[in-house]
Amino acid sequence: MSEKPTKEKPADLGDLLADPRVGQLPAVTRDPIPAVQALRVGANQQTPAVGQRVTRLDIRTHITGSTRYIDDLAFPSMLYVKILRSTEAHARILSIDTAAARAMPGVVATLTGDEIPENSFGSSYQDQPVLAVDRVRHQGDGLVAVAAETEQQASEALAAIKVAYEPLPALFDPLEAIRPDAPKIHRDNNVYASKVIIRGDVEKGFAESDQIFERRYSTQMIEHVPMEPFAAIALWEPDGQLHVYSSNGRITLGRADLARTLQMPMNRIRVTATFVGGNFGGKNEIRTEPILALLAKKTRRPVKATFNREDEFVASTTRHPIIMDYKTGVANDGHLIARSVRLILDGGAYASWSETTVGKAAILAAGPYRIPNVRVEGHAVYTNKTVTGAMRGFGAPQVAFAYESQMDEIANTLGMDPLAIRLLNGFTEGSISHTGQVLQAVALEETLLTAAKRSGWMEEGT
């Protein structure tokens, strides 16, 4: 199914801006908030709540400081857990000696990975150890958990743990990691998730194009930095049920991961979600929950672990850096004829949500534009870096940066207004997406024109 770009280049943007549909969104107002009328929703009818201003149900406790986040919860006799993390990016673990730490003041118990019934987790591939046993693959890998009477005692005990490593060659550049002779981080291939999308014939499209634009774009690793660091509490109920409180935003997945790692039936596990002080995708997996469950069992006391800011940076997930090679063929009138994209996602040490991310990045990589010939391939690659996973948009912001940058470069070279080239090529009602979906309720043109009008884009001197 190929779609021919049929739309003519707009002669005058002023005419489009005069379109009565433009600027119909209500202006921001400080007027008194109208009362919301009782909801009487008929079949296929828009709920009357849409467009009304409503008060957030949870805001009053937030602004008075009375919301109970997980770090505001405590249980009698609760212990505090800290985790020793790898100092090496890639190494074999020769030995771990916790004897001195166990003798430290206030220390009640320690836990290593060999005590975890099924020591692996992950949202698509279970390639991540809860605590590393024989090998570390990045500096955030946990090795030993210590439960103590106070957080400070637990932290001090970490310094008494002795770990011997045999360093292995480490990879920090995904382009090096995809070379056939690169050291292997997990299995026999560092590329662990791929997505390819083909529509039309890009080579033929490039041959038919008047001009070709090629450039590499890249983005950096980003940490979610939620205001509230990740935290969890585990305790065993008198009837033998495990009860975990967690700031995890996906508790049903968390419960499944707990059942798997602890080799327990799911119906013996209760997970209570607490108010989340910012997630953004960084609290979508278990982090410490199985460790806390086992330490609570060992010590017969509730245990809690709260990440500090360093834990949050090295032992949670981050946004994938992506190296994005774009090649676009255009006609001199600005129509896009062909686009090929290669995405190399720095997947970090473990898969986490990379499979989802490479998929979404690839699906969106050609942009919201009518292009008859498209080829996109995306690959997630293991490196010995911080784990990359879910973060708002799952790869969409990275590719948007690349394709919109290239649209600007094309417009600039062709001497076109950047708005005009987007209006010329943008998806319209009924356009077919690069994956073959017929699009409905497409408001791209209206949105662009409204933004142009509101921002004064077409005014002189801007």
């Binding site: 400080r30 009053r60 008075t64 400081g65 986040y69 939620p226 205001m227 910012g278």
Partner: protein, 160 residues
């Protein structure tokens, strides 16, 4: 161990603490005032902001012994579920806050500003919030909320 005594939200409070105890941990753990939050523990995020003798400070950086004999105001002393401070009322009206973790510190910083300067410019509001981070909503509705609480016309200093 050190004996400390301070007035917190108008009430005299006492505790016995090791020297390294921060004001934040004595407020949260000894006295159960969990409204002040631990976000970064290094004075960057402002979620722990409280007033000590009227000055806004990061409670994670002050030792409890340094505040001995002084007067402390925390979020719990500013408003409650049934009696909102005008700043809180404006935040509620405008939905200025999303996850809420930064809110107590921001309300305190805003109160510190308004107590000294009841009619701040937008620029002065921005400067008063320089020590408070929010990761959810951005700052627009927070700044608008503080301006609304002071009933100053929007954009009085010409900035966005």
């Amino acid at each position: 161990m050190h004996q400390i005594e301070m007035t917190v939200n108008g009430q005299v409070m006492r505790a016995e603490v090791p020297a390294e105890t921060t004001l934040l941990s004595v407020l949260r753990e000894a006295w159960g005032l969990t409204g002040s939050k631990l976000g970064c523990d290094v004075g960057d995020c402002g979620a722990c902001t409280v007033l000590v003798d009227g000055l806004s400070v990061n409670a994670c950086l002050l030792l409890a012994v340094q505040v001995d004999g002084q007067e402390v105001l925390t979020i719990e002393g500013i408003g409650g579920f049934d009696y909102l401070h005008p700043i809180q009322a404006a935040f509620e009206r405008l939905s200025s806050i999303q996850c809420g973790f930064c809110a107590p510190g921001i309300v305190i910083s805003a109160k510190a500003l308004i107590d000294k300067n009841p009619h701040p410019t937008e620029q002065e509001i921005r400067e008063a919030l320089a020590g408070n981070l929010c990761r959810c909503t951005g700052y627009t509705k927070i700044i608008e909320g503080i301006a609304e609480a002071c009933r100053i016309p929007a954009g009085t200093d010409g900035s966005a």
